[in-house]
């Protein structure tokens, strides 16, 4: 059997079996969460996100990490980096891991392209709009933090949206802003402020990447991902209103952003008819009765996901059984603690 057989079989095993199996498990969890009558559609957003992304991220992280650990000596990739005597042993695992990373990147390139921002403008119209935005944000303490994060563009097809992964910024189209009253624009900025606060462009990118790298399992998760994203947009509407945005002007701005012709079809998250109606209905309800914070988001979901990711990354580099022993005793202690 040639040396390439094991890595190729391993990759095939992960892509054809593990990723779809994880997607199936995640789907089961998502179905249960979505059936929760108490919380409704905005319930458990963080937990649902972790299920959607973790089902791909964990197997892929493990595969990449294991790919780096193919050295004959059984040494970890760290040894390859630090000990130059074993350099020749590290070429193949390094090359294999590079190939894997390249394949993952290639499958993700379309997703990354869609997340490009738009070009800022400095025309007279853009300067006027920036002054208007500055006036609006400076008069509202909630929006004050957005002051230097708003970028104006003369792109006629662009309405309004948040771009930028680590330092998200709100892009506003001059033509679209002209169709909004100050109150509508302030409410729309309130909605985007929540996207900025929660680094939503990064979250959306990771979600789409997680689906892209799971070619045989993503069909199971795509409807749930769409529902999660719709619920996330509704959550931003809700947060904006809680923090002082006026519900009816926000509803008006959302409908205007959904008008055909805008290139930014997801402006203010307004795309699908059913989602649009849901959000408008929610905002109409908020105009009668102010909303309170709702819905258990799953606050422990991200820390748990981080720990699991760390385990998936480190486990292939353990030469002995020490890590498994720690995991074993740790699980026993945890069970004893909770059952006591």
């Amino acid at each position: 059997m040639i040396e390439a057989t094991f890595p190729l079989l391993g990759t095939a095993f992960v892509v054809l079996i593990v990723l779809p199996a994880f997607a199936l498990l995640a789907k089961a969890g998502l179905v249960m969460l979505e059936r929760d009558e108490v919380g409704g559609p905005l319930h458990g957003l963080n937990l649902r996100y972790v299920l959607l992304t973790g089902s791909s991220a964990l197997p892929v992280a493990w595969l990449l990490s294991a790919g780096l650990h193919q050295a004959e000596t059984g040494k970890s990739a760290l040894a390859c980096l630090l000990d130059h005597d074993t350099a020749e042993l590290c070429f193949e695992p390094g090359f294999f891991a590079l190939m894997l990373a390249g394949a993952i990147l290639a499958s993700s390139i379309g997703v990354i392209r869609r997340h490009r921002g738009v070009r800022a403008s400095s025309s007279d119209a853009a300067r006027t709009l920036l002054q208007r935005v500055a006036r609006i944000t400076s008069s509202d303490p909630v929006l004050a933090g957005l002051g230097d994060r708003v970028v104006v563009t003369d792109d006629d097809g662009f309405a309004l949206g948040t771009h930028g992964l680590l330092k998200p910024r709100v892009f506003v189209g001059t033509a679209f802003a002209e169709r909004l009253s100050d109150e509508m624009l302030a409410s729309a900025l309130g909605h985007e402020a929540e996207h900025v606060r929660a680094l939503d462009p990064l979250r959306y990118l990771i979600l789409q990447l997680a689906l892209a790298v799971n070619p045989f399992g993503r069909f199971m998760l795509e409807p749930h991902a769409a529902r999660w994203q719709a619920a996330r947009e509704a959550h931003c509407d809700r947060e904006a209103v809680i923090l002082g945005a006026a519900p009816l002007p926000l509803a008006d701005a959302i409908v205007r952003a959904a008008r055909p012709g805008a290139r930014e079809v997801v402006a203010l998250g307004a795309r699908d008819t059913a989602v649009l109606k849901f959000r408008i209905g929610m905002l109409l309800a908020f105009s009668e009765r102010a909303p309170a914070r709702c819905c258990h988001q799953g606050p422990s979901a991200f820390p748990v996901a981080f720990v699991l990711l760390l385990i998936a990354l480190l486990l292939p580099h353990q030469t002995g059984t020490a890590a498994l022993d720690v995991l074993h005793t740790g699980a026993e202690h945890a069970l004893t603690y909770f059952w006591r």
């Binding site: 009558e37 409807p223 529902r227 509803a251 959904a258 059913a274 209905g281 109409l284 105009s287 009668e288």
Partner: protein, 138 residues
């Protein structure tokens, strides 16, 4: 037309209460294009004991909800359905208005089928917002 979705219900009863759904079932099933309260009562009486006033109240409620339309015919009203059963069920699947953070029916409808809103639908939504604004101002 706006409705509150009813958790745990399916089909017509997702948006209509028991007798409302029964009456619409009769109207669509018997293909009654124009009918008086007495016509529906005659059919329902064969199935169960029911008072004229109960049927009249329910039919009036269906008219107020916008499911039936009516025209005066002497001293009585003649009713007719605004939508076919298929149109009504289709609109139910798309209609999640007033279901602010409701049950999983609303969730199931969210983004189940991505389709961009038409200009007409957006006009309707704008009109709805304007109407709510006027109601609040009043």
């Amino acid at each position: 037309m706006t409705f509150r979705l009813r958790p745990g219900k399916k089909g017509l009863e997702l948006r209509l209460h028991g007798l409302e759904a029964t009456i619409m079932d009769v109207v669509w099933g018997k293909q009654l294009s124009s009918f008086a309260v007495g016509d529906v009562l005659a059919i329902l009486e064969k199935q169960r004991d029911i008072a004229y006033t109960t049927v009249m109240t329910t039919v009036t409620r269906l008219y107020e909800k916008g499911i039936l339309e009516r025209e005066r015919d002497g001293k009585r009203y003649l009713y007719s359905p605004k939508l076919s059963r298929e149109e009504f069920l289709q609109s139910t699947a798309r209609e999640v208005l007033d279901e602010a953070v409701g049950g999983h029916q609303a969730m199931a409808m969210l983004a189940e089928k991505v389709s961009e809103a038409s200009a007409g639908e957006l006009d309707d939504l704008e009109a709805l917002i304007q109407k709510r604004r006027e109601e609040l101002d009043a």
